[in-house]
Symmetry: C2
Subunit: 243 residues, 2 copies
Amino acid sequence: MPNPTAAMLVIGDEILSGRTRDANTHHLAGELIKVGIDLKEVRVVSDDRGAIINAVNALRAGFDHVFTSGGIGPTHDDITADCVAAAFGLPLDVRDDALAILQAHYDTCGIELNTARLRMARVPEGARLIANPISAAPGFSLDNVHVMAGVPSIFQAMVADLRPNLTGGAPVASKTVRLELPEGEIAGPLAALAGRNGDMSFGSYPFNQKGSYGANIVISGTDPGKIDAAAAELRALFGGADA
Amino acid sequence: MPNPTAAMLVIGDEILSGRTRDANTHHLAGELIKVGIDLKEVRVVSDDRGAIINAVNALRAGFDHVFTSGGIGPTHDDITADCVAAAFGLPLDVRDDALAILQAHYDTCGIELNTARLRMARVPEGARLIANPISAAPGFSLDNVHVMAGVPSIFQAMVADLRPNLTGGAPVASKTVRLELPEGEIAGPLAALAGRNGDMSFGSYPFNQKGSYGANIVISGTDPGKIDAAAAELRALFGGADA
């Protein structure tokens, strides 16, 4: 049976403007591999209501899981919760359980729970809260859509909270063989090797370091023994080394 | 008149597996801002024919420009040119002009132009070649889709070749004000400021450094004078500094 599939939806103008590099996708990708869920697509959209709603609906229909990051804070440009609720056709209101979490946190810190902060207690009916041990304001899972913060430390804590609830398939193992040859020399025999091993994938990632060409060949699959055998065959063909 | 819009399509399993971080989007985003083209969406898809074709067709219909990176080398997993041709319903064959470029390059280097390398001379009829001063194999522009390499140094050289052909609108300027206050304190007055300045965007990007909360407020627009005025108003409200 193929592994469950996932998509990541990164929300926020700061990635698209080039000001910020998205670090959350890299973290999620690594966690999903451990669980045995295949990350198949990433989308980055701006803080635009129509763009977010369309992406949520396209991705939740196309993949087993959708993970979002960004846009759940207290400011006017934080519209992710509104858009996810709208994508599901659900109302969005302050929910008592989320409010209690925020109230306890701000009471402890001696901070006022003002109107802006109250926005972060708005959670669609039926959603399961995702814990935020760093700044309290929770994320939530609605059906197969998991809504999380954009700040990397909080995103990572939320993924950790979510992880026990994610059921995956066989974890994908991989091995990388570094070949000091240009891809054009490797391509023919590599294609033949890939053709004989249809249950594994063979990715070729060229590099150009100090004027010398080479490629890292990443062999992926669910059977570590077969991966080792294919890596050995590759090294026998081209004299590479494990990267 | 609003600026032309663009989407970036990153093709390759290596980003989705978490092995590699995509550096090309960040570069493209910075270049497009200089030209006055608004990057509105990024998608990352795997080396999968259906996924690539669907993404190319969705994005070229939705945006003025589509920039792709990855999948145009000589190995079996390099299927981007095939998929772009299929998305347009065009055949894909070795084209004389691309072949001449490769032949000259490999003759100079004393390298054989073998079957695998010949794959890189396949360009759809009607496409304009994008120069590759690093390893010769060209990219191409077909209608509003610009197909480029994934290796960052080559991607950047191809963007440089393409740039004189891109016509943008007003370059977007921006200024960042760093506020040493949690977003929850900023949100109300910031929303009011944004409401009074509908022709600019005010993004709030929270940070948490050494246990202290703050936010970078990014003010963007096409009128530098109005951006400066809004930044001054923000500093007067909250005592921040230019970041």
